[in-house]
Every structure is written in structure tokens, then in C-alpha cells.
Symmetry: C2
Subunit: 270 residues, 2 copies
């Protein structure tokens, strides 16, 4: 690495379903001894509420205006703790009329910087959430350009590709992974787009029809697919690492190949 | 696996640059003791000519009409040996006026079934070849639908995606790999498209400005990213395996997620 330019990280964290206040306490306990200045810190999907809502009624009881405010306040507090870092945290977003999005918010020291609504819903999420309508927007965090996608979005190469082509240098990726594929496949997402990826996963189990076992192993990849940080399978974990953002800004794979300019959209049918 | 429906494979083979007749002899020697009925067999990029042509003049001396005919004849002979299997083999294709494509032909027992011209040229190939103009067409091989892409095409998710969306159930992928990434990333290409992928690589070294070291490790992935066959780093190798093509035809990742129908093209910007 050349001189590091930024610091990015994740919190792997296991919430208890529906116990927002309890989860916030435990999250703050977890990070308190490991705080350090950072630019961007990513938390899991549904990081403070848990995931396996039985139905829309249960989801609605948890998705109150007060709880959304508490999520925002917790993110702002984390931002303070981590030297003004931007925080990405997954949460259930009320859409009005008893409808909800599976969303993540991007929060800076002065409050909300951006919001993303999950595009590709997984499994039983289709019974609970509306498909996201925000699309894959990018946001400025200090001098960084950050994109967000949530969990199953990773499966579709179009998600990370769209973010990267719109300028994302870092993809913040809150997850609640239950399939065994993603942590390995993010190698390809980072490499093919020459970006940093931060997959922040959770551990533990929840019941929804059957047991959901979340797979931990949160991981940060560099623009050449190198693993820069990873977490255990079953323990909560905080990681903050140095990166050189110029590595993501350089889209020259070698002297003759530029990974965006070499694309031939006329021959693609997508 | 349910009952196998088809047999697919690769030949990992190391040609000597420019020595077409010698390479054909050695190739036939290599496969002779391992022939078995198959449906599709993939050979490397530039499998019979070698790769590191010094310049267009040298490339032109090798890319004669007679040598193209010998390549076709060799593929037809392999097809006979492997029970009428379709053969994919990389070769330099004359484009007229001293120009060339980096191509692969698809050859059945009755002759040429299809041709693909490499879309994404790698490094110094840009001095030797025209960018391919065929695009990512798919072809019928018995009751299979086969797509072709060559080497560096893998880097761009759009290549395999276009083939798969057009119906490819198997992606035939002749390569001359020198970077360390592809064999690992094809996990993602197979999984994200729910297809079989056959990456047929070569071994050995050639000189072009600097030494090119080809990385072997040809690999077949199944539709869930499982490795079904792989070859050593430095030795030639023949592999033919059973597959159940229904696994690639089923695009349901689970009861609620269909990997094509779940796409949201309106939110992609590609």
C-alpha cells in the first residue's frame, strides 16, 4: 500500500429480535473499547431490530417513528465515537399504509446523508417489504463516493456494477446472510468493479418457519479482490482498517486495459 | 445429482508457439487414451497455435487458410473420438487485409456449428487483433444451449450475463490465463447465472516482451458454484464429467427467488 488515505470498517453484531433498546445498549458496549477515527463504518441489515419478523403486524409494532429516530440517534452517536465517520445501518423503513421497506441509512455527524431501499428482496421478505424504489444512488462522504446495497442485492451483478459505474469507490453492504455464497462471491464484485466492498453481516439464529442461521464472516475486499479484514463465523466483531482510496479510483487493470472503457455495451443485452 | 443427462469436459493443453502440426500430434496423443462419449468438450484459447505472436507479421504467417482448415479438421476428429461431442477450440481467425480476430469455433461431427470473436481483448492483443464483432450468441448442441466467451471476457460480468439471458445453459470458456483471478471468479459467474461453466486453460510459458506464465487449473463449475472438475497448475489434463442439465435450466434459487425474474432492469444503469 501507498500511504493510507482513509479508514473504513464494519461492526458484525447479533441483535435480539424486537429488542431495540437492549440491542442499542449491547452494540454500544461492543464498540466502546474499540473506537478509533474512521471515515466509514458499516453495520448489518436490520442491525438493531433483528430480521425474522413473523408478519407485517409484528414488523409494524417495531417500525415506529420513535424506533426510527432511535436508530438515527444511535448511528449519530456511533459517528461521534468513530471520529465523525459516516455510518451505514440497516433498518425497517415505514412506507405508510402499513407498508415497509428493507432499508439502510447513511448517517454523518450532522444527521442523515442518504437512504437506500433494498432492490432485490430475498425469500419471505417479499411478504413483508415493498421492493426498493430508490435504485443504486451514490453519496459523498468527505471526499469519498459511497454506494449502498443490501444483502441479496449482491447476487445480481447489476447492483454493484450500477453503483460502480455511477462513481462508487466503496460499496457499503449490510447483510443478514443465510446462504453460503456471498462472502466468497464478493471477491468478484470488488475485482470486476475495482472498488472496496464492506460486507457487514450478523451471527446467531432466528426462527421464521424454519431456523435461519446467519453466517457471520463479515469481510472487506480491496479493488483487486484482496481480503483486508474478516470476522469470525459466530462472534460479534469490530474491524477498522487503513485503505488507499487511489487504488479504487484507478480503473486501469494494466497499461492496456481500463475496466470501464473496455466495456462494449452495444454487445451486451441486459 | 439426479440422473446425469449429459457429459461435458475440457482439454488443458500446452501448445508450442507456431508449431501447428506438432501441436495437433501431441494433442491427439494426449486425448487418445482418455476418449469417452461426451456432448461438449472445450479446448483453450489459441489451442493449436500458441499465443504470444511477436507481431502481426508472425501472426499472419501462422493464420493461413490451410492452418484454419487443419484446426477445423482436428476439431472434427476430436468430435469423432468423443462420440460426436461438440468441440470448442480457440484459434486466430483471418479477417482479411492482414487483420485478425481472436476467435473460437464450435465444431460438431458434421463441421462448423458456430464461431465467436473475442469481445474484450487483453493487453498486447490490442496490437494484433480486431475487437470481436459477433457478440455473445448462443448455439444449439444436441438439446443443449451453449454460449462461448474467451479468456478476459470473464472479467466483465456482462459477457456471461448476456449469454445466460439469451439462454446459454453452459458457457464454454477457452482461456490463456496469466492473471491469478479467473479460476476463482468463475464461481460467481456460474452462480449468478445458474449455468455450468467450462474454463479450459493452458499451461507453460511464452515470451512476449516479458515472460507470460499460463496458470493451468482449468475448472468446471456447476450452477450453484460447486467445482465439478479441475486440472493441475502445470500439467496437461483431460476431464469429462456427468452433469444434470436440469440444474442449469432451473433458475429458481429457492421457492421465492427466480434469478432472472427478480432482476429489476429499470434500476440498472449498464
Amino acid at each position: 500500500m501507498n500511504e493510507p488515505t482513509h479508514r473504513i470498517g464494519f461492526v458484525q453484531f447479533t441483535p435480539v429480535l424486537g429488542a431495540l433498546d437492549f440491542n442499542i445498549e449491547r452494540l454500544l458496549d461492543l464498540v466502546r473499547l474499540r473506537v478509533e477515527p474512521a471515515d466509514l463504518l458499516v453495520l448489518p441489515e436490520m442491525a438493531l431490530t433483528g430480521y425474522a419478523f413473523r408478519d407485517k403486524e409484528e414488523l409494524g409494532r417495531i417500525t415506529t417513528a420513535e424506533n426510527t429516530r432511535k436508530t438515527l440517534d444511535t448511528a449519530a452517536r456511533l459517528s461521534d465515537l468513530f471520529g465523525g465517520a459516516a455510518i451505514v445501518v440497516g433498518y425497517p423503513e415505514p412506507a405508510g399504509d402499513g407498508a415497509f421497506y428493507n432499508s439502510c441509512m447513511l448517517v454523518g455527524p450532522d444527521g442523515l446523508l442518504g437512504n437506500y431501499r433494498k432492490t432485490h428482496l430475498f425469500g419471505a421478505e417479499k411478504d413483508l417489504f415493498l421492493p426498493g424504489d430508490t435504485g443504486f444512488a451514490v453519496f459523498s462522504v468527505r471526499d469519498l463516493t459511497v454506494g449502498m446495497m443490501i444483502c441479496f442485492d449482491w447476487f445480481f451483478p447489476e447492483s454493484a456494477r450500477t453503483l460502480a459505474l455511477r462513481g462508487a469507490e466503496i460499496i457499503a453492504h449490510p447483510t443478514n446472510l443465510v446462504m453460503p455464497y456471498c462472502q466468497r462471491a464478493m471477491f468478484t464484485r470488488a475485482l470486476e468493479n475495482s472498488v472496496y466492498t464492506i460486507t457487514a453481516n450478523r451471527c446467531g439464529t432466528e426462527m421464521h418457519q424454519k431456523e435461519l442461521r446467519f453466517t457471520g464472516e463479515s469481510v472487506i475486499y480491496g479493488p483487486r479482490g484482496n481480503i483486508l479484514a474478516s470476522a469470525p463465523k459466530t462472534e460479534d466483531h469490530v474491524a477498522v482498517i487503513d485503505i488507499d482510496i487511489h487504488r479504487a479510483r484507478n480503473k486501469n487493470l494494466n497499461a492496456r486495459n481500463h475496466i470501464y472503457d473496455d466495456r462494449v455495451p452495444d454487445l451486451y443485452d441486459l
